[in-house]
Each structure stands twice: as structure tokens, then as C-alpha cells.
């Protein structure tokens, strides 16, 4: 039977932060996740590293936490952060009184909000609406949730931390008022096993309520769905926020070659619901085009949705009014059950801090007095400039830097060696994200790469502007030749699954140039490959 001192349930940013923190303090920790890592709220959001400006009026404590954590994540997760900076802009239709409150709030929270002239604002963001009447620069940034998650795993692994993906909690074992272990099921193979532990941490996010229920406990979590749009270009070079009372569809975040606009806010019964509709798309566009008037001229790549896991203490507010803060529930003091703690709420930007608080509590219970070091030590070392320079001739134009940030030094070294040895491994599988066959194969061979979509989240294959149009075939072929599971050997199934996954996000935005791209995809895969017409004879 597998054993761990601590088992963390939930492979979102919070759970991974806890895994890393505890591992660094020498606690034997295992994390389980029912799907691939970062499948819930931690990847289904803007990818915004908050400066705290968003909370400067409503919740200054959250604002202070954000700006502190913002500085820390830039330092420890250098290759996950695009330090693009942020703008808060007020339109002539927005309440001027709010601006004054906001400026004061930023000052009180320690956020450096720099008033800039309109001339300067239009110079740095030429597409901004001319209805903008004031603009402030803040230290917002874009952050890659997938990369941060996997780098956190790397970091934890150096200290003995372990993960199991596609592993679903099926049962919590309680004996004499104490949690002693869990039963889990592998969702790909169906295999069931028991894992013994001293402490179980419920970091299930939107699913935390269901997990608590398995131990007969009640934790109030209200999933609050946010829908976002990804556009195929950089509409702005900065994160652009509307300077008004927080509302739907008022933040634009540039990421590499795309921009994410969000989000809506809607209470839903289950965090599993990631469905998006035309109505939500229309709503986001209608608000977004107030900030960027020509918004509808851009191609929308896809719509996606995730749920904020809002903690609901009895009698609290809901929706956007509910706190973005987090809560730690010790079930021993609250419910009389030893060996189980729950963490809910919070936001991506402050996940490290949340993990630190949780690890403090757990270490206290375990009698471990190691201090937290997660704010000082980098997640992964950087690839040196010299190594990148040497490798430059092997990669497509901008590909060296992208590969280096995605891979980290050890994998980068192996990928470069593979490309040097065999020039065919230099094939660019994904032009949009500059992914070479060598990089794809490096990730596909890892034990956590079960299906093609897992490799996608790691390498970004298929996530760029073609939305897998060209690379689905290439990726399926590469996966078939090096994937380690039986699934990898059915390339048509992998291709279909890959493209159907993309389709889910394209469907609600089937207008404008998405129509054109979809016609291309269908023309290739249905007509030229006939993947929808397998022969029965």
C-alpha cells in the first residue's frame, strides 16, 4: 500500500503550491488529481498576475496580498511571467468618484499606480477607445498557469514531492475520529488502490464541497462561472482594466500572440459546468468593445469557462459580492474530525501565500518547525544565455526562448542534443507556438503524459492561432511513435479527441473568421483524411 505523510487532493494552483511548500519543508507529500493538472479554475481564467489594483477599493487586504505575491511570483517564476505591465483606464461613461477612491485605495495598499497623460496612454495602447478619460500604469502582468503548475511540480519533486494525475478520490477512510487514508481510482484504467496518510488536505477548489462530503462534512463552496474569450492577436501590449466598480468583461490580458478577455460571473450548481454560450460571448463583446472599439474585427480563437470556488461562510454574500479571499478550515476544531483540513477560495495570484498558511498549519500538527522557503527559491533554474545562443540555429526564429522557458535547463539540454543528433527532430510540429518534434517527444515520453491533450497543455501544441488545424496530424503522429500508452497507438482517435477539445471552445464563437478556420479544419480532416468515415468493410 502506498503511504504518504500528507495527501493533497486537487491539482490546481493551491494544491500544487501546498505540495511544493510541504515538500520543501521535508514533509513526505503526495498530490492526487482526477484529471490532468490545472484543469479547473487555475487554467480557466485570464492568466492575470494581479497588481492588486482590481481590489484596491473593495478589499484592501486582498490588494496588499496581491501586490506582495505579484513581486514574489515574478522572482520565483520568472519564465512563467510576461512582465507586460497593466493599465487602468476610465471611460467617460464611468463614475469619476470611483477613480478618486481607487487612487486612494492603491496608495493605501502599496500599489504603485502611476497617472499618465492620455497622449501617453494612446501612444502605448493605440487601439484604446477615445472615450478613455484617464489612465494609470500598474504592475499587472500575464502569467502562464500551466507552466507555473508544472514548474511547481518540478520544484516539489526535487524535495521528494509526488503527484498522481487521472487519480480520483473515491472514499475517505476514517477510523476513531481520525482520517487514516483514502481510496482512489485511476480514471484511465479503473484500477482502485488505498493510500495511507496522516493528514488529508482538501484543495479541491470548486469540488471541495463534494470532497468534504465524502468525510460526512459540510464545506460551503459556491462555484461561480466566469466565461472568457481568447483572441488571435495581441490587442494590447499591457493588461488593460476598466477603472470602475469590478464588473463583467472588463479585463484584457495579452499572452504571447493572443489576448484573453473576461470574465462573466454566474453562480452555477456544479464546477463541472464549463459550457459557454453565444449569449455570454455577445455579452463579453458588448462590454469589451467599449474599451477597444474595433474588437469585433479580431478573430476570436475560442471561448472557455471556469469556476471561481467562492467560499460561503453561513450567511455570506454571493457572486461578485463574495470575497475573493480564502479560508482554511481545520475539521478537528470545526467538526471534531482529526487529520483533515480544507482550503477554499482565494485566487491564482495569492496561491503561494495560501499554500504557506496551509503548510504552516499542517507542519504545526506534525511537529515540523521548518520555515517556509517558497518565496525565496526559484521554481526552476533558468536556461543560461550561452546555452540558448548555442542552440539558436536549431530552432525556428523565436523558438529558442519559447522552448527554453517551457522546458527548463535539463529538458532543454536533452532536446537540443536530440535535435543535433537527428535533424528530423527539428521539424516544427506547431508553427503557432514554435514547438519542435524533439520538444514534443521529450514531454510525450514523461509518465504523466497519458493522452495527446496532456502534451498539449505542457508544450502548447495546438493552443495557438490555428487551433490544431495543422498540428493535430503532426502531434498525433509524434504521439503514436513515442507515447507510452495504448491510447497513443490509435492516432485517429487521438486526432479526433484533440480537435473535438478545440471545437468545444470554437463552437460558441462560430462567427467571423472562426467560420473560415473551421471550414479549413473540416475540409482537411473530413474530406482529405476522411477521419469521420471509417470504413466498416
Amino acid at each position: 500500500m502506498e503511504k504518504a505523510t500528507v495527501v493533497v487532493v486537487g491539482g490546481g494552483a493551491t494544491g500544487l503550491g501546498i505540495l511544493r511548500d510541504l515538500s520543501m519543508r521535508g514533509v513526505d507529500t503526495l498530490l492526487i488529481e482526477k484529471k490532468d493538472l490545472i484543469n479547473g479554475a487555475s487554467s480557466r481564467y485570464h492568466g492575470l498576475l494581479h497588481s492588486g489594483g482590481r481590489y484596491a477599493v473593495k478589499d484592501q487586504e486582498a490588494a496588499k496580498e496581491c501586490i506582495e505575491e505579484n513581486k514574489i511570483l515574478r522572482k520565483i517564476g520568472q519564465s512563467c511571467v510576461e512582465p507586460c505591465g497593466g493599465l487602468f483606464v476610465r471611460l467617460d461613461s464611468d463614475d469619476p468618484a470611483y477613480e478618486a477612491d481607487w487612487v486612494a485605495g492603491c496608495q493605501a495598499s502599496g500599489i504603485d499606480a502611476q497617472d499618465i497623460s492620455l497622449e501617453e496612454a494612446f501612444r502605448i495602447e493605440p487601439r484604446l477607445s477615445k472615450h478613455v478619460v484617464s489612465a494609470y500604469l500598474v504592475p499587472d502582468a500575464a502569467i502562464d498557469g500551466f507552466r507555473l503548475a508544472w514548474q511547481s511540480v518540478e520544484s516539489a519533486k526535487r524535495y521528494g514531492g509526488r503527484i498522481k494525475t487521472y487519480t480520483k478520490l473515491s472514499d475517505i477512510i476514517v477510523s476513531n475520529g481520525t482520517v487514516t487514508g483514502i481510496h482512489v481510482q485511476n480514471t484511465l484504467t479503473g484500477q482502485v488502490e488505498e493510500i495511507a496518510c496522516h493528514i488529508l488536505i482538501n484543495a479541491g477548489g470548486g469540488w471541495a464541497g463534494e470532497i468534504a462530503q465524502m468525510a460526512g462534512l459540510e464545506v460551503g463552496v459556491q462555484p461561480d462561472k466566469g466565461t472568457l474569450l481568447a483572441f488571435n492577436q495581441r490587442i494590447s501590449n499591457h493588461v488593460v482594466n476598466r477603472l470602475h466598480k469590478s464588473s463583467d468583461g472588463d479585463i484584457f490580458v495579452p499572452h504571447g500572440s493572443i489576448t484573453i478577455l473576461g470574465t462573466t460571473s454566474m453562480s452555477i450548481p456544479s464546477a463541472e459546468d464549463t459550457h459557454t454560450s453565444r449569449e455570454e460571448v455577445e455579452k463579453l463583446l458588448a462590454i469589451g468593445e467599449q474599451t477597444f472599439e474595433n474588437l469585433r474585427d479580431y478573430r476570436i480563437l475560442r471561448a472557455f469557462a471556469g469556476s471561481r470556488p467562492l467560499y460561503m461562510p453561513p450567511g455570506g454574500a454571493s457572486g461578485r459580492g463574495a470575497s475573493r479571499g480564502f479560508a482554511i478550515v481545520d475539521h478537528k476544531s470545526q467538526d471534531g474530525l482529526s487529520g483533515m483540513v480544507t482550503i477554499v477560495g482565494g485566487k491564482f495570484t495569492t496561491h503561494r501565500l495560501m499554500a504557506e498558511r496551509m503548510a504552516d498549519l499542517v507542519c504545526k500538527k506534525l511537529g515540523n518547525n521548518q520555515p517556509c522557503r517558497t518565496a525565496e527559491e526559484a521554481l526552476v533554474p533558468q536556461v543560461s544565455g550561452e546555452e540558448k545562443k548555442k542552440a539558436h540555429k536549431l530552432f525556428p526564429s523565436f523558438g529558442t526562448d519559447l522552448a527554453a522557458t517551457r522546458l527548463g535547463p535539463e529538458r532543454f539540454k536533452r532536446v537540443v542534443a536530440a535535435m543535433e543528433k537527428n535533424p528530423e527532430k527539428r521539424e516544427v510540429l506547431c508553427e503557432c507556438e514554435n514547438v519542435t518534434r524533439a520538444e514534443f517527444e521529450e514531454i510525450a515520453r514523461e509518465s504523466t503524459s497519458h493522452i495527446l491533450n496532456d502534451v498539449r497543455r505542457r508544450t502548447r501544441v495546438g493552443m495557438g492561432t490555428c487551433q490544431a488545424n495543422y498540428c493535430a496530424l503532426r502531434a498525433a503522429s509524434a504521439f503514436a511513435s513515442c507515447g507510452h500508452e495504448e491510447a497513443a497507438k490509435d492516432s485517429i482517435k487521438q486526432m479526433k479527441q484533440f480537435l473535438e477539445g478545440r471545437w468545444k471552445g470554437i463552437r460558441p464563437v462560430m462567427m467571423g473568421r472562426s467560420l473560415k478556420e473551421t471550414e479549413m479544419t473540416r475540409g482537411l480532416y473530413e474530406l482529405v483524411f476522411n477521419i469521420n468515415g471509417e470504413e466498416e468493410d
Partner: protein
């Protein structure tokens, strides 16, 4: 003033076929094109009908057409135009050393770029799986070093399903020497095989294969006609068969060259890099089409206009906002399905056509655009190919058949040679 008898807008298969048919009747034809035309992304096989409405495979396309609903474009085009149009297409291709083999009454299998089978009515000679080819015991996929989008492993995996477990399968790697630190495309290899050196180099790597071998290759045998394929075939003991491929699609490019050469011979004025953006209309007649090139704007006057600008892919139909599709040149009425649930299916690849894909221009049986009441909107404008409403060509595998037949009909109607 630029005036022609017929102005064709668009240079995909439908536009080229319309220009050809008009010019053959002695008309003065101008062909306006913006970009390459879609033949570079066209499979090059002439699919007439591959699947019915319920995604059941159609074995006999002519019979399959009879069972289509009344508002399907084939029903308007009619059997005669389809038959005559195809005969005319076959005549043109033959003159330009392209041999198409097949029948309107029996679909035949061809091998795709991933080793699956696809069925089509007329296949270019190098893709045809002859009876004799199907008896070969050894099946070999040719993997060209550095070539993108054609992968030996995936080919073999699917070829086994396509040709059965009793055969012997393998991959033969060959090196064309073209890979100078960058990926190469099928078109690069085809151009290489256009040269005597490429030809000889290819043969030297594969000539010792025995006659019990079926070689499956991407369409690399030259970018013009089928002569390179025929010449090499004669010198090889093994049998060779080409597959479909991702763009740049060589079988489509070969067709494009054939049409281009033919249209030039017939004196068609091909105006490239000109985007038709608007039109001038008087009553129920179109007078001229206004087109922008890089340097200027021109008016093209004609007696007859054939609209072959395509659908959403080519920009012949645009939809900037939900439920507001437009045809940007003549602003013709567009037929489309309303409601989010009807617009798309939950699955990208399913057993039901996609609603959005049927968006197009409704016509009468003469292919003139009509409004909701069925009245002709412009009586000297004709609609062809993917501009037509009521069919999902990706789902039913009918695009090239409809393109050829509708273009033939639109160019023949009222020209003394009624289709």
C-alpha cells in the same frame, strides 16, 4: 472601359470551370481572382456525393443524388448538367495530361494522407487503386526524410485497417537531399521530381522493389500533369499509388495549372490580385463589379456575372455578427439556419451535417439568386459552387461535383446550349 460578355468572380474549381465553359462558347470572358484560389487546398479528387444526410456511405452517387432533399443544389442543377459538366471537365483535363478515372455511378476508394480510405467518383490516375494494385502482398509507405504531414507510422497503422491484416506492411525511408535544415513540403518534392535529376534520384532509391509491392506515396510525381507518374511507373516493377495530402495540395495544383493553361489558350482575361468589393446595379440587372487591386480600383462591366467567390472559407460569404451573414459584392439574400443549437453540432465530427455549413445563396433552377418569396433578385447573375445554399460539402463529400456541375450550368444557361 473593361467590358466582357461574362465576368467570373473567383478562381476555385467552380470559377475556373465557369470561365472555361463560357470561353468555349466563344464568349469574351474575364476572370477576377483574389489570391490563389482554393485548388491549392483542394483534394484533387472529384467527389460527387460520398455520404447521405444520415452519414450513410453512398456507393452510387447518381442514385444518391436522387434521394437528396428537394432544396439540395444538385436538385436544381439537375442530372444533365452534372453529366455534361463532368464530360467537359474530363475533356479539359485530358488535354492537359491529367487523366481522371471513375464513374458517376460507383464511388471508388483512394488512400488518404493518413492511410485511411476515402471514396470518390473520379480520381486522378496516380491515386487510382487498380484491381491489380489491390492484390499486392507487400504494402510499403514511403517516408521522405524531412517531409511534413506524411508520416510512415501513422500510414501503416491506418493502412492495416484499410487493406486488412493479411498483408505485409512496412515503411521505406528515402532521402531526397532537399532537407537543408528546414522542413520540406510535398510541393517541394513534386517540383524536384519535375526535374530529370529528381526523377533519376527517385528511381535509383526504389527501383529494386519487386512487382508484388504496392508503394503508397504522397503526391510527389511532378506539379504538372501525370506524365512524371506515368514515366516512373513504367520503369518500376512495383506499383505506385499517390494519396491525398494537406496543403499545398499537389493534385489540386496540377488541376490549377491545367485550367490556367487552357484559359490562356482560350483567351480568357485572368485578372489576378483583384478583390471584388462592390457592384453597380440597375433594377434587376447587375451592370458592373467594382474590384480593388493593390494600386487602383476598377469597374468590370459584363452582360452576365457568375459568382464563384466561395463560402466562409474564401470570403464569398462573411458573418461578422451572429445571424447576420452577408454576400459582400451584390448583397444577395442569404439563406441560413437560425438559433445557436441549429448553427453547429455538439460534435465537430458527427453523423449530422453542420447547420452553419449550409449557409449560402438560394437560387432557382437556373441558378439565379432568389429572395424568400422565390423571385429572382438579379437576372444576369448566376451562383455556383460553395456560394450555393443547402449543402455541407465537408460532411457529404460533394464539393467538387457541385462546383463542376453548377459552373457548367450557369455558363450554359441561355447560351443556345441549354443544360
Amino acid at each position: 472601359m473593361i467590358r466582357s460578355d461574362v465576368l467570373v468572380i473567383g478562381a476555385g474549381l467552380a470559377g475556373l470551370m465557369a470561365a472555361y465553359t463560357s470561353a468555349k462558347q466563344g464568349k469574351k470572358v474575364t476572370l477576377l481572382t483574389w489570391g490563389e484560389g482554393t485548388l491549392t487546398v483542394n483534394s484533387g479528387t472529384i467527389d460527387i456525393l460520398g455520404f447521405d444526410e444520415n452519414h450513410k456511405r453512398v456507393n452510387n452517387p447518381l442514385q444518391g443524388i436522387d434521394n437528396l432533399p428537394a432544396d439540395h443544389p444538385y436538385k436544381k442543377i439537375g442530372r444533365q448538367a452534372l453529366q455534361e459538366g463532368l464530360a467537359s471537365f474530363l475533356e479539359l483535363t485530358k488535354q492537359h495530361e491529367l487523366t481522371y478515372i471513375g464513374s458517376m455511378e460507383a464511388n471508388q476508394p483512394v488512400v488518404t494522407a493518413i492511410g485511411t480510405k476515402k471514396r470518390t467518383a473520379y480520381a486522378p490516375l496516380p491515386m487510382v487503386l487498380s484491381e491489380q494494385a489491390l492484390t499486392k502482398k507487400k504494402i510499403r509507405a514511403v517516408a521522405i526524410k524531412g517531409l511534413k504531414d506524411f508520416y510512415g507510422d501513422v500510414m501503416i497503422e491506418n493502412l492495416k485497417k484499410s487493406f486488412g491484416p493479411d498483408k505485409d506492411y512496412g515503411v521505406i525511408p528515402i532521402d531526397t537531399g532537399l532537407m537543408g535544415g528546414r522542413d520540406i513540403t510535398i510541393q517541394d518534392v513534386a517540383r524536384y521530381l519535375d526535374t530529370p535529376q529528381g526523377n533519376a534520384d527517385f528511381l535509383s532509391q526504389l527501383e529494386d522493389l519487386d512487382q508484388d509491392t504496392l508503394l503508397v506515396l504522397p503526391p510527389i510525381f511532378g506539379s504538372h500533369g501525370h506524365t512524371v507518374y506515368q514515366t516512373i511507373s513504367q520503369e518500376m516493377k512495383a506499383t505506385m499509388v499517390e494519396t491525398t495530402c494537406l496543403p499545398p495540395s499537389v493534385p489540386g495544383i496540377r488541376l490549377r495549372y491545367a485550367f490556367r493553361d487552357e484559359l490562356r489558350q482560350l483567351g480568357v482575361d485572368i485578372v489576378e490580385s483583384s478583390k471584388a468589393v462592390a457592384s453597380e446595379i440597375e433594377g434587376t440587372k447587375a451592370v458592373s463589379v467594382i474590384a480593388n487591386s493593390a494600386s487602383n480600383q476598377r469597374r468590370y462591366y459584363a452582360d452576365r456575372f457568375i459568382l464563384a467567390t466561395g463560402g466562409f472559407y474564401s470570403g464569398g460569404i462573411e458573418m461578422r455578427d451572429f445571424e447576420k451573414p452577408i454576400e459582400p459584392i451584390f448583397h444577395l439574400p442569404i439563406s441560413f439556419v437560425k438559433g445557436e443549437d441549429q448553427w453547429t453540432n455538439e460534435e465537430l465530427f458527427g453523423s449530422k451535417a453542420q447547420g452553419y455549413a449550409k449557409t449560402g445563396i438560394e437560387t432557382n433552377d437556373l441558378l439565379q439568386p432568389v429572395n424568400k418569396e422565390g423571385q429572382v433578385v438579379l437576372d444576369n447573375v448566376y451562383i455556383v459552387g460553395r456560394n450555393l445554399a443547402g449543402f455541407d460539402f465537408c460532411f457529404e463529400h460533394s464539393g467538387n461535383g457541385i462546383a463542376i456541375a453548377s459552373a457548367y450550368k450557369a455558363a450554359s444557361v441561355g447560351m443556345g446550349k441549354e443544360a
